[in-house]
């Protein structure tokens, strides 16, 4: 059917088609590269965060002057906790429990200098704690209170306080054998002294922790403070790079240790840049699609006399639209192949560059790239094919 093709193709506008071709190519390369790098960087980010190790995030409310003056509480209401629990990024969540009575710690030994201090305790379920120790359990019979303090406390003492005051530095092991006592004070002057022992140093939780069942028991026995909402909540997220975390925390006026969420923050910035890129690529592709569409429609309308003549000769409009569809598909396949080729080369180049910065990104295209290219091209082709069929059919009436 060489005749049919040469008749109908002779009315093309090469400049238009070339423009549409280049436009689609540019848009496609931009879009595909954007998606490729986004996928890569996301992988790199979650690698750094170690996908297997979910992040524990301690969330508290920002302290404002109202709270300082006692106008408003800094605790999480049950509704706020429920809302937080329902967030998709919060896989597990537990509020901190605080002591509801005064606590003092003091030493009774002649081997170490005497000291006495007011103290607080907090408790969370064991599964949130990064210290696994046999001693970490409350046995009412034995009556020893196991305590976990932050690693930072020991560092502060050893490298800050002890040195400047001429006091001895204490290694971790020694701290664990220090004997001191804890006094639990009831409301009516009653109290109980129990031995305390530091069983671990947490890097995760900046608090003085005791087992939850101990604190529950002690609060039941001695507690008389007015019940307050928990001021801190610990939550576990499998994907700490999820931008939704930081957004939720900020939107609700909460606060957390930002360091842990840098992946999330980076992700937000990245998403913004990539969205911008994708938006521009989208506009370019849309324009290119329009030029394609218009070029083909122009071709058809320029050939309207010929199409009518072919129809008179017995050609069905589907047969007449074939050369246009064929042309469209050739261009689409070409533009996709070239775009994938360029994106592939570009990716390899970037991977080589990233290697110099010790960053491992994929040097081959991700599956999603092929999927996206295919989906997009199918969409453009399909809509154009339909438009071609409609306009040739119209001419064959």
């Amino acid at each position: 059917m060489k005749g049919l093709y040469s008749i109908l193709w002779s009315d093309n506008s090469r400049a238009h088609l070339l423009g549409a071709f280049l436009g689609t190519l540019a848009g496609l390369v931009l879009l595909l590269s954007g998606i490729q790098f986004y996928t890569d960087i996301k992988l790199v980010l979650s690698d750094n965060q170690d996908l297997l190790d979910p992040e524990y995030i301690v969330v508290n409310k920002k302290i404002n002057i109202g709270q300082t003056l006692g106008f408003s509480g800094s605790g999480f209401s049950p509704e706020e906790i429920t809302a937080l629990r329902q967030q998709p990024f919060a896989d597990k969540l537990a509020p901190f429990i605080s002591n509801a009575f005064p606590i003092q710690a003091f030493t009774e030994s002649d081997k170490v200098p005497n000291f006495s201090t007011e103290l607080f305790f907090e408790a969370i379920p064991d599964e949130y704690i990064d210290i696994k120790s046999d001693e970490w359990q409350w046995d009412p019979e034995e009556g020893i209170i196991p305590i976990i303090i932050p690693q930072d406390f020991l560092n502060l003492y050893n490298f800050g306080f002890a040195q400047s005051q001429g006091l001895p530095q204490i290694p971790k092991g020694v701290v664990s054998v220090l004997n001191f006592r804890i006094r639990l004070n009831g409301s009516s002057g009653n109290y109980q002294d129990l031995p305390g022992r530091i069983v671990g140093f947490s890097n995760r939780i900046h608090s003085i922790l005791v087992p939850q069942d101990f604190l529950t028991w002690a609060n039941d026995t001695y507690g008389y403070f007015e019940k307050v909402d928990p001021s801190r909540v610990i939550l576990v997220s499998k994907d700490p790079t999820d931008p939704a975390i930081i957004k939720y925390i900020e939107d609700n006026g909460y606060d957390t240790i930002r360091e842990k969420l840098k992946g999330s923050r980076l992700n937000i910035i990245l998403k913004f840049i990539i969205s911008f890129l994708v938006l521009i690529a989208g506009i370019i592709i849309l324009l290119a699609f329009l030029v394609f569409f218009l070029s083909l429609q122009l071709m058809i309308s320029r050939s309207s006399q010929k199409i009518k003549r072919l129809h008179k000769l017995g050609f069905h409009y589907r047969e007449i639209s074939r050369p246009y569809i064929f042309l469209l598909l050739i261009l689409m396949i070409a533009v996709t192949s070239i775009a994938l080729l360029i994106t592939g080369l570009f990716t390899r180049q970037m991977a080589a560059m990233a290697e110099q910065w010790n960053m491992a990104i994929s040097s081959s295209l991700h599956g999603i790239i092929f999927g996206t290219a295919l989906a997009l091209i199918t969409l453009i082709s399909l809509s154009n094919v339909i438009a071609i069929l409609i306009s040739t059919k119209k001419l064959c009436k």
Binding site: G3, I7, S10, K312, L313, G314, H316
Partner: protein, 214 residues
């Protein structure tokens, strides 16, 4: 194939002064299978209109046209396309050739959707009509008489039950007209097909046809 007209009249002819017509507005006119008809009339009497209506190109008429008992106004695009490929062939007065294609390409274009004639048969027909030397030339530079012969050969490149020929010898001399008519008649006979020929006046070359005055 039987073509039947019932009270047919093209709308533009309604306001015209009409004399006696054996075709327009007759209660029933049958074009029987395998017969040949000569529709004769002066210009403007609607020869082309008649053939165009039967071929489905014009729809501005009153009355009805039936092809094998089906009203052609009910036929869809697909059905017309099939009819025009397999049952109805038309030699257009305006020829409807593509100037930018060679004569041969014009003929092949039709043959490509019907696959009715071999290359050799096409060459033979061109030889009979004395245009085999022009087959590779662009149609646009051929004389109208030569173009008419190209259009005739093209119309032969399909199976048909009826051939509609609209003043197809108008620009040929007597000898070439005869050659062309013979070719058409033979093809019609071979295909057992009917023929409706329109002409300004009864030419000598046209024989054995039933005459109809428009």
């Amino acid at each position: 194939m039987t073509i039947r007209l019932e009270y047919l009249i093209p709308l533009p002819l309604l306001d015209q002064q009409r004399g006696e017509s054996e075709v327009w507005e007759t209660s029933r006119l049958n074009f029987e299978p395998g017969l040949s008809y000569l529709v004769e009339a002066a210009s403007g009497r609607g020869k082309t209109s008649l053939l165009s209506i039967i071929y489905g190109l014009r729809k501005d008429y009153r009355g009805k046209v039936f092809i094998d008992e089906s009203d052609i106004s009910t036929l869809g695009e697909k059905e017309w396309s099939v009819l025009r490929k397999t049952r109805l062939s038309f030699i257009f007065q305006g020829l409807e050739l593509f100037d930018e294609l060679t004569a041969m390409e014009n003929i092949r274009l039709k043959n490509s959707i019907t696959r009715h004639k071999s290359e050799k048969e096409i060459q033979e027909m061109a030889g009979r009509l004395d245009i085999d030397d022009f087959l590779q030339r662009k149609t646009g530079i051929l004389s109208f008489g030569q173009q008419q012969r190209v259009a005739i050969i093209r119309a032969m490149c399909q199976p048909f039950d009826y051939l509609l020929a609209d003043e197809c010898f108008s620009h040929m001399d007597h000898k070439n007209g005869k050659l062309a008519y013979d070719l058409i008649s033979e093809e019609c006979k071979a295909q057992d097909a009917g023929l409706i020929l329109s002409s300004l006046n009864s030419s000598e070359e046209i024989t054995s046809s039933k005459k109809l005055i428009l």
